[in-house]
């Protein structure tokens, strides 16, 4: 087994094991930590594909940003000794069934599809290419989604300020 293959299986194992742990753990903060490992391992997969920009974004935004916010809100709302009640057996059987059916459907679709290796060289994009594509208004540009997301974020910010503001009596 080559080093690359070994790393792929390692990341794969980390993703599978910690995903399962994240949804079965009865302590909420531990579940968040397991989710963190899953996201870091995913970023490792992107690095292996030589897609470094996406890997860094995954690391900075998902692993570094979003999980921090999740953990922050857990710290504010729950106590270390808190534990979820064990899930009822019939509920866990049904959710396991749903998960297995979903996985089987995905695998069947993946195996059905005839993947072909492309001719494109596996090279990472230059930063300037990504930057220009983000600001381009042509058919392959991302300016519209970019602006839509900006408006969404602005609305969320205004809403949180309004909620946080004290009402004068």
């Amino acid at each position: 087994m080559s080093g690359n293959q070994f790393m792929f299986y390692l990341f794969g194992a980390v993703i599978v094991i910690f995903s399962i742990l994240a949804v079965t753990s009865r302590k909420i903060l531990r579940a968040a930590v397991f989710l963190l490992f899953v996201l870091i391992a995913t970023s490792g997969l992107y690095f292996m594909l030589n897609y470094q920009f996406l890997a860094a974004v995954q690391l900075t935004l998902y692993a570094g940003g979003i999980v921090v916010l999740i953990i922050f809100s857990i710290l504010l709302t729950s106590h270390i000794s808190e534990k979820f009640e064990p899930i009822k057996p019939q509920k866990s059987i049904f959710s396991a069934l749903a998960a297995i059916i979903g996985a089987v459907l995905c695998i069947i679709t993946l195996l059905d599809y005839n993947f072909k290796a492309g001719n494109a060289i596996a090279a990472d994009l230059d930063m300037t290419v990504i930057g220009k594509a983000l600001l381009s208004y042509k058919y392959d540009g991302y300016i519209l989604p970019f602006e839509v997301i900006s408006i969404l974020l602005l609305a969320a910010m205004i809403a949180s300020i309004v909620i946080a503001k004290k009402i004068k009596k």
């Binding site: 302590k27 903060l29 531990r30 930590v33 963190l36 870091i40 970023s43 470094q52 920009f53 890997a55 860094a56 974004v57 690391l59 900075t60 692993a63 570094g64 940003g65 999980v67 921090v68 953990i71 922050f72 710290l75 270390i80 990472d124 230059d126 930063m127 300037t128």
Partner: protein, 314 residues
């Protein structure tokens, strides 16, 4: 050169700097406070570090029974891993680097945002009120200052047209970025001090208020990892300042490039220590208002002006 050899040398150099800094800091603080500092063990007290390390190794490695054990044990490791990983993208010399990536700065920012987990999880898993308050303070402080840290570097990225540390150093051949990017440097330096929670921004561990903050419950080598991690962080921020704003390995050619890199890095390490010797700790709200009311507008203005000037010159 062989990859493994480069990785080995980098780790050795970085870890010995971090360990040696413990001695350097104690001696320098003593100089500035008109006393001698550690001077008994070995020449100039140099072996004090070795004695301290042996002591840390043999101390009881206590895990509090009321803590969340796996998270408690994991937390100090995260800090070491994230900081040591970041050294991989920093070029010590033109041909001495572990990994020249065209996302170098993003990689650094990503890893520094992962470093927060170490403190938050460590403080939370200790199940101690002081640790918990320290962790809350640390998370807010580090999340806040990460924002300015990233924004302050965007001017440098725009001028060098690249995220790669090597390309940024090479772009400084004619003029170090400290001159056109002075405000970026100021913001980055302050954010760097806050990010490593060194004095004067050691609010998460403020010993007068919180015993030792987030690492109150840690002992033995786990405490040692937090301790060395702090010095590693200081080394990292100094190395990045030297690389991004002061031309990295560039310098007159009568000395090897690596010498210039370490000279600049050590200069900023000494500034970090001088800050500790001379400044009092601000209040928590003062820290926050400094960040959001002064540093954020400054960083944004810096981006705007840099962009406008670059467009004008094109």
């Amino acid at each position: 050169m062989n990859y493994l050899l480069i990785i080995g040398i980098t780790l050795f150099v970085v870890l010995s700097i971090a360990a040696g800094l413990i001695w350097i800091e104690r001696r320098l603080l003593s100089v500035w406070q008109d006393r001698l500092g550690p001077n008994r063990v070995g020449p100039f007290g140099l072996f004090q570090v070795i004695a301290d390390t042996i002591k840390l190794f043999f101390k009881e490695d206590w895990v509090p029974p009321f803590s969340d054990k796996p998270v408690f044990i994991l937390a100090p490791g995260i800090l070491m891993v994230t900081i040591l990983l970041t050294f991989a993208v920093i070029p010590f010399a033109p041909d001495f680097y572990v990994f020249d990536s065209n996302i170098g700065i993003l990689f650094f920012l990503g890893n520094s945002s992962l470093g927060v987990y170490s403190i938050v999880l460590g403080g939370w898993a200790s199940n101690n009120k002081y640790s918990f308050i320290g962790a809350m303070r640390a998370s807010a402080q580090m999340l806040t200052y990460e924002v300015f840290m990233g924004l302050s570097l965007m001017g440098v990225v725009m001028m060098a047209d690249s995220f790669s540390f090597r390309a940024i150093v090479e772009a400084q051949k004619d003029c170090w970025f400290i001159i056109p990017q002075f405000f970026g440097f100021v913001v980055f330096f302050i954010a760097g001090v806050a990010e490593t929670h060194r004095l004067p921004f050691d609010i998460p561990e403020a010993e007068g208020e919180l015993i030792a903050g987030y690492h109150s419950e840690y002992s033995g080598m786990k405490f040692g990892m937090f301790f060395v991690g702090e010095y590693l962080g200081v080394t990292l921020i100094s190395a990045i300042i030297a690389t991004l704003f002061f031309g990295g390995w560039l310098g007159p050619s009568f000395l090897p490039p690596a010498f210039w890199f370490f000279l600049k890095t050590f200069f900023f390490i000494f500034v970090f220590i001088l800050l500790r010797a001379s400044l009092p700790r601000p209040r928590y709200d003062q820290l926050m208002s400094l960040g959001w009311k002064l540093l954020l507008p400054l960083a944004l203005l810096n981006i705007l002006i840099t962009g406008a000037v670059l467009l004008f010159l094109k």
